[in-house]
Subunit: 225 residues, 2 copies
Amino acid sequence: MHSLSKINLADTAVEAIRTEILGRRWAVGAKLPNEAALSAMLSVSRGTVREAVRVLVSQGYLETRQGSGTYVVSTADTVRPLGMARRAGLRDQFEARLALDVEAARLAALRQTPAVIAGLRALLAARGPYAENDKTDFIARDFAFHQAVIAASRNAVLIGMYDFFSTLIAETIEATLGQDLPEPDMAAHVAIVDAIESGDPDAADAAVRRFMAPVLSALDRLLMS
Amino acid sequence: MHSLSKINLADTAVEAIRTEILGRRWAVGAKLPNEAALSAMLSVSRGTVREAVRVLVSQGYLETRQGSGTYVVSTADTVRPLGMARRAGLRDQFEARLALDVEAARLAALRQTPAVIAGLRALLAARGPYAENDKTDFIARDFAFHQAVIAASRNAVLIGMYDFFSTLIAETIEATLGQDLPEPDMAAHVAIVDAIESGDPDAADAAVRRFMAPVLSALDRLLMS
DNA sequence: AGTCATAAAGTCATCAGATGACTTTATGAC
DNA sequence: GTCATAAAGTCATCTGATGACTTTATGACT
């Protein structure tokens, strides 16, 4: 329970600047005071200001142009959403991933081609049934299949976010559950591909939800106990 | 089209370290070399190493403990997903937000209470019909309603991500479209609340999709031209 | 031997100053 | 009025130093 009492200067500077941006006091397109001025305003060294600014650049708020200055490029908060996701409960994380999964499957159905379907079936064949002895590899092959389903949506945003949530969920399970969740059988996997191939987004939607339902139930039981 | 030729040292350092983490060469829980060693390994100054490390801390990969060292805490890539979202097309952004919107509405239906429904209707009443003269305020009130719908899902991840995408989409429209998208009428808004109140997730799902369909069509027409 | 306070070493946090690279603005000749 | 050039402004990076905090080693004491 680390309260906010022990916070370092650079993070304080980040929050101070972020607050100015989110409060629209430095609007999009505006130029920030130079490093020396910020240093004086925040009463920290220039090095600390640079660390803070670089963090905000990496988060998409600012842009620095050597020789010119530092500018606000966006007020969209990229950090809170996924930072929040990191600290959220497993149930919330699953629900978010399911949202992406379902929408990706719908789009995949609308945009499916024979080549993509063939690729999915090939991945499913390579995945094979579960075997106790090569658990790590099996998980990797299984993940490759699911990634390919998302990729079939041809939506870069969904693809990127799905990757993030998958990794995050794996880590959260490792850290909090200490137990595996049930893995749907081959028939459930095939049903998703079939639904996408049919070109019917509602069918794809339903297939994914049927796929995930038992996993969510198992999760709820584990979180109860 | 800014190629990778002109990249600064700190970003290079960030990528170098991130690659090590993502490649599992520094596993979760592992301790990184100290700043002086990293400085030598990457052939950059300690200050530059600190900027890189702080970026990775802000992205959730690392954790620094004063007096102890720097440790890997996660391999989940938080920066690519939303960074990708930022550079993605408006269509992709809309589809991602729709995914969140639909799932949130489903959960809201499952978890609805009379108090929440009353709150939604109050927001809708306060929002009122569109009036040309107070466009800015109207948009704020409209956004407050939609936020409340998402909040009714009681899923922190969905709430955070929805905020992000809403801001992002607004900025992308401003930057690329230079034209507003059609705003669904009051009936469409009421339909969402009614569906949530009914407690039927499928109805809520459908209401949101009906709500968004004309907006997406208009977007496609604009992107075509 | 075991315990425990203390010292020492290791590491991050922060500051100060300096130089280089790049961009923007001002200057002045033509 | 145009345009090459100089000057000023600003970020990028390096070097060196000090402080704060944590971990480990030491050694006295029981």
